[in-house]
């Protein structure tokens, strides 16, 4: 049985979410106060010591991202909190925002101080309309308490946050698409470079961090980067907030150190629901992998997952029982990407639907072995030639399921051949 290590979720369930007093009673905004006494370079150095990597999926070192923006010369810079948590099977950001919004605001304010920004945007996905009032109220309370707004803690540092709504577009979780969306445009990703750190919102240097990343910041500033780096594994420090969903006995959002074994998490939360057999997992959301039951001994951190040709992504662990057809899931996943492709670049706009057609064909028992080659070839092209992460990863489930559940494909093709 694992015990949770609560860093990100430290205040969840312990405080009134909108109460800035509650938050401050547990040490809240002290990290910001401390940061404001330090030169920005030192703040970034502290984050660097923690070796914190972005929790949105890509795992880019946070300190490095910030230092690009600090070095970029511009009168106006922005900090954006990416709360467009669209990855199916991922709920962690909602838990943090609806239970402890101040930890994210504080993280944003520290980021703003570190890079020289005075304006922040929190982009909340549409599907969380009930979180809006919480954020708005918490923001107002934080402003009233002098923790945000003008002359924070009597310094000449100003920083305020505007909550912006998404409109129901998964692609807006991609940072440049999110920026386009804030700018009042269709949420289509931009080509990179230039990266947002150089040219982001309204063409200005912009930090874009995930909710979970930001919620870690106050703790790092409080207890030190050194302390933080002792949790997790050396290449990937701290904790990860996992969302357990699908056919698992105990669903929910739980926080464990990076590198925790998948089997331990799975077993701690009761294994497969209704005592059915385990077929496999969908890891990292719909743009993540499908792995089979034999691959369960997997340390859940960015690099270990990568070495095992899997992906940690947003920390989604969806359990698949033996009542579920893998090809049905793959079909469902491709349908998702057909719906959510923005339509900007050719491989993603045209490719997802073609993969879907082939999967459907195979699933209906009308597939041929040639279809397997077509799938592999098209998936590879989409992976290496699409404009953004959506198109680059939309076919990962297809590729991994073709490796890890090959017999499902072959059986379906065989079924068609005999029919």
């Amino acid at each position: 049985m694992l015990q949770e290590t609560r860093i990100v979720l430290r205040n969840v369930g312990e405080i009134n979410p909108v109460s800035v007093e509650d938050y401050r009673k547990r040490g809240g905004y002290e990290s910001l106060r401390k940061a404001l006494t330090m030169p920005p370079e030192d703040v970034i150095a502290e984050i660097e010591k923690s070796r914190l990597r972005g929790r949105g999926g890509a795992g880019f070192p946070t300190a490095r991202k910030w230092s690009f923006v600090l070095k970029a010369e511009s009168e106006q810079k922005y900090v954006i909190c990416n709360a467009d948590e669209g990855e199916p099977g991922t709920n962690k950001d909602r838990i943090v925002l609806s239970n402890d919004p101040n930890s994210v605001f504080e993280g944003m304010a520290i980021a703003a101080w570190a890079v020289g920004a005075d304006r922040g945007f929190l982009y909340l996905r549409f599907e969380y309309p009930y979180v809006f009032p919480i954020l708005e109220q918490a923001l107002q309370n934080a402003r009233d308490a002098g923790c945000l707004g003008k002359n924070i803690f009597g310094t000449d540092f100003n920083f305020d946050i505007t909550v912006v709504s998404g409109g129901g577009a998964y692609v807006c979780g991609e940072e440049t698409a999110l920026i386009e969306s804030i700018e009042g445009n269709r949420g289509e990703p931009r080509f990179k470079p230039p990266y947002p750190g150089i040219s982001g919102l309204y063409g200005k240097p912009t930090v874009v961090n995930n909710v979970e990343t930001l919620a870690n910041i106050p703790v790092i500033m409080d207890k030190g980067g050194e302390w933080f780096s002792k949790t997790g594994v050396p290449s990937c420090t701290g904790t990860k907030v996992f969302t357990l969903c699908g056919n698992i006995a105990q669903k929910g959002v739980f926080e464990y150190p990076m590198g925790t074994n998948l089997r331990d998490i799975f077993e701690t939360h009761g294994g497969v629901k209704d005592n059915r057999d385990l077929r496999g997992f969908m890891l990292g959301g719909q743009s993540g992998n499908l792995i089979n039951a034999s691959q369960i001994d997997l340390p859940m951190d960015i690099d270990s997952c990568q070495q095992a040709e899997s992906v940690l992504g947003t920390g989604t662990i969806m359990v698949i029982d033996d009542y579920t057809e893998i090809l049905d899931i793959v079909e469902n996943i491709m349908k998702f990407f057909i719906e959510e492709s923005c339509g900007k670049c050719t491989p993603c706009r045209e490719g997802n639907i073609r993969i879907y057609e082939v999967i459907q064909r195979i699933n209906r028992g009308e597939g041929k072995m040639d279809d397997m080659i077509l799938l592999e070839e098209l998936a590879e092209t989409m992976n290496i030639a699409s404009l953004c992460g959506l198109g680059q990863n939309s076919s990962v489930a297809v590729i991994t399921s073709m490796h890890n559940f090959r017999e499902d494909y072959l059986k379906a093709i065989e079924r068609g051949r005999r029919a």
């Binding site: 050719t346 706009r349 045209e350 997802n352 639907i353 073609r354």
Partner: protein, 576 residues
């Protein structure tokens, strides 16, 4: 600017920092296929045809957007690149109606070219899926066929960013994206001003010129009809280019020969009514200046601009010159004065305008451009269309002898000719107004300050004791800036020339497909033609003088107002 060194396909190249891989490849004469890339537009990087491999990188990168960096090793046709590119092309082709044999863009289609160059021979492995609701021929100028669309976004860019017309936008998402007017409107009912710049920007036949050539062929076959052509100033500059010759090749004499051989009975020169326009417009301007009329007066030759003004700036309609455009003046004269002269009823004359412009097709259909139940101009065909007619008549354009225009409307001045370029109407007007007001000859006829491709040009000229302030804008984004300044009462010009198309008529939507590189030679040709003309001032055109004596009376006379002037309508309802 510091430089970076890299290799492309093993060849070393040095280029300034920040330049793209595509530019670096160009230095080496290495060709990388592109589709969404347009040299005159922003980089889009969405078609992904131009992907290349950077050694050491897992993902391919688009050459059009990715910067060349120091030490980079680029491969443009490795196996990974070739496979990816061909798969991408295959995806595009599976959405693209495969009817090249009878496609309007066959032979100058960018997708066809890419497909041919990539040596793509297989049939796509995916079933063909057309875009829904794909066909729109509601506009008299532009046909939209989404079955040919590759979703590059070049049309939207030019319509929204350059022209600021906002007739088209990207609609829907994913597999269903399309470029279309808002809320399912048809182009013909939308704010589209028919300029055809979207046609010029489109890499395929998703946007094409509305083709009227069949009606002209039918008129040739009708023994009852005298088929009369008028040829706009810019046509002699761009027609040879449309038939495969170098941009800027002037083909005035060959053009007339070709038109005669194709089947036109009479070929007139719109330069003539350009001169007439100067007489009317110049007189109108002086009238407004002397009698406290509405200023600044704005030119009205460009029908795309007129619809734009009627839609977005109806409050400035009083500023528009009441003069018809040269094509419309000509139309009126052909069906009245000329008809009488050759003793024909107007309905027995078939009047064809050959124009660099797609909006002229719309202009010819305006209710004001006709009387007593007939149209002043029966059909407008573009340079692209007449080029097709010449080819389909089996005429070898490059070897043709030269023929002069027919009289009585065959003589135009250099002033009329420069109507084809941005600033030309202004320069022509200044030549005439100056000499009429002062009675003195100009030392130099060349008003350099209103020439060239700068977006907004300004000049002031002492005409007698008045300092006449003028401005010239081309491209409606630039026009919008001037109009906003007028609205805000921040502009004290007397006279403004506006052309809807960037570069003026030589950049018109009916020309062969352009970019700014081709526009330079076209512009240079316009002023070369002007220099070579024996007559360079509108008021010295002897036939114009004679027309006033025999028929019109004096400029701005009652007769002139009846035939040569027009009125405008408030079209702001299109925005409501």
């Amino acid at each position: 600017m510091s430089k970076v060194k890299l290799t492309i396909d093993g060849l070393p190249v040095e280029i300034e920092e920040g330049a793209t891989i595509l530019r670096a490849a160009d230095e080496l004469d290495i060709y990388i296929p592109t589709l969404c890339y347009h040299p005159d537009q922003n980089v889009k990087a969405n078609c992904r045809i131009c992907v290349v491999e950077v050694v050491g990188m897992k993902l391919l990168v688009p050459a059009c957007s990715y910067p060349a960096t120091e030490g980079m090793a680029v491969l443009t046709h490795s196996q990974r690149v070739r496979t990816a590119r061909r798969n991408i092309l295959e995806l595009i082709l599976a959405r693209h109606a495969q009817d090249c044999l009878h496609c309007d863009r066959s032979g100058f289609c960018e997708l066809q070219k890419v497909s041919e160059e990539m040596h793509f021979l297989r049939t796509p492995r995916y079933p063909y899926v057309a875009r829904s609701d794909y066909w729109d021929d509601s506009s008299p100028s532009i046909v939209r066929n989404s079955q040919k669309c590759v979703a590059c976004g070049r049309c939207e860019y030019v319509c929204s960013n350059i022209q600021t017309v906002h007739a088209l936008s990207k609609v829907g998402r994913g597999f269903e994206v399309n470029f279309e007017p808002a809320y399912g409107k048809k182009l013909g009912d939308s704010v589209c001003i028919n300029c055809g710049q979207c046609i010029q920007a489109c890499p395929t036949a998703a946007l094409t010129i509305y083709d009227y050539t069949l009606r002209v062929w039918r008129a040739f076959a009708d023994p009852q009809k005298t088929v009369v052509a008028q040829v706009a100033p810019a046509v002699r500059i761009t027609l040879a280019e449309a038939l495969g010759e170098a941009p800027g090749t002037i083909s005035t004499g060959r053009l007339v020969t070709a038109l005669k051989r194709v089947g036109f009975d009479v070929v007139f020169d719109t330069d003539f009514t350009a001169d007439l326009t100067i007489m009317e417009e110049g007189t109108e301007l002086l009238g407004r200046i002397n009698n406290g009329g509405v200023l600044p007066m704005i030119t009205s030759c460009s029908p795309g601009w007129i619809k734009f003004c009627e839609t977005y700036y109806p409050d400035l309609i009083p500023n528009l010159s009441t003069c018809k455009s040269p094509q419309a003046m000509f139309g009126a004269l052909i069906k009245t004065f000329y008809a009488k002269q050759i003793r024909k009823v107007p309905s027995d004359i078939f009047s064809v305008s050959i124009m660099p412009c797609t909006a002229k097709k719309f202009e010819a259909q305006r209710p004001e451009m006709g009387r007593n139940g007939y149209r002043d101009v029966d059909v407008v065909i573009s340079v692209q269309e007449i080029a097709r007619m010449i080819r389909s008549a089996g005429i070898n354009f490059s070897n043709l002898p030269e023929t002069p225009f027919d009289s009585p409307f065959g003589l135009g001045s250099g002033a009329g000719e420069i109507f084809g370029a941005t600033g030309g109407v202004m320069e022509a007007a200044l030549r005439t107004v100056y000499e009429i007001v002062t009675g003195k000859e100009l030392d130099s006829l060349d008003f350099e300050s209103v020439r060239g491709f700068e977006g907004i040009k300004e000049a002031s000229v002492m005409v007698g004791d008045i300092k006449v302030k003028v401005a010239v804008a081309h491209g409606l984004g630039n026009a919008r800036k001037l109009m906003d300044a007028i609205r805000a009462k921040e502009a004290d010009y007397h006279f403004i020339e506006i052309m809807a198309c960037p570069g003026g008529c030589i950049g018109g939507g009916g020309n062969p497909i352009k970019n700014w590189r081709k526009m330079g030679p076209r512009l240079e040709a316009v002023y070369r033609e002007d220099k070579n003309m024996p007559l360079r001032k509108s008021h010295e055109n002897p036939y114009v003088k004679k027309l006033y004596e025999d028929f019109l009376g004096e400029p701005n006379s009652h007769k002139c107002h009846e035939l040569l002037h027009t009125r405008y309508v408030d079209r702001s309802y299109l925005l409501r």
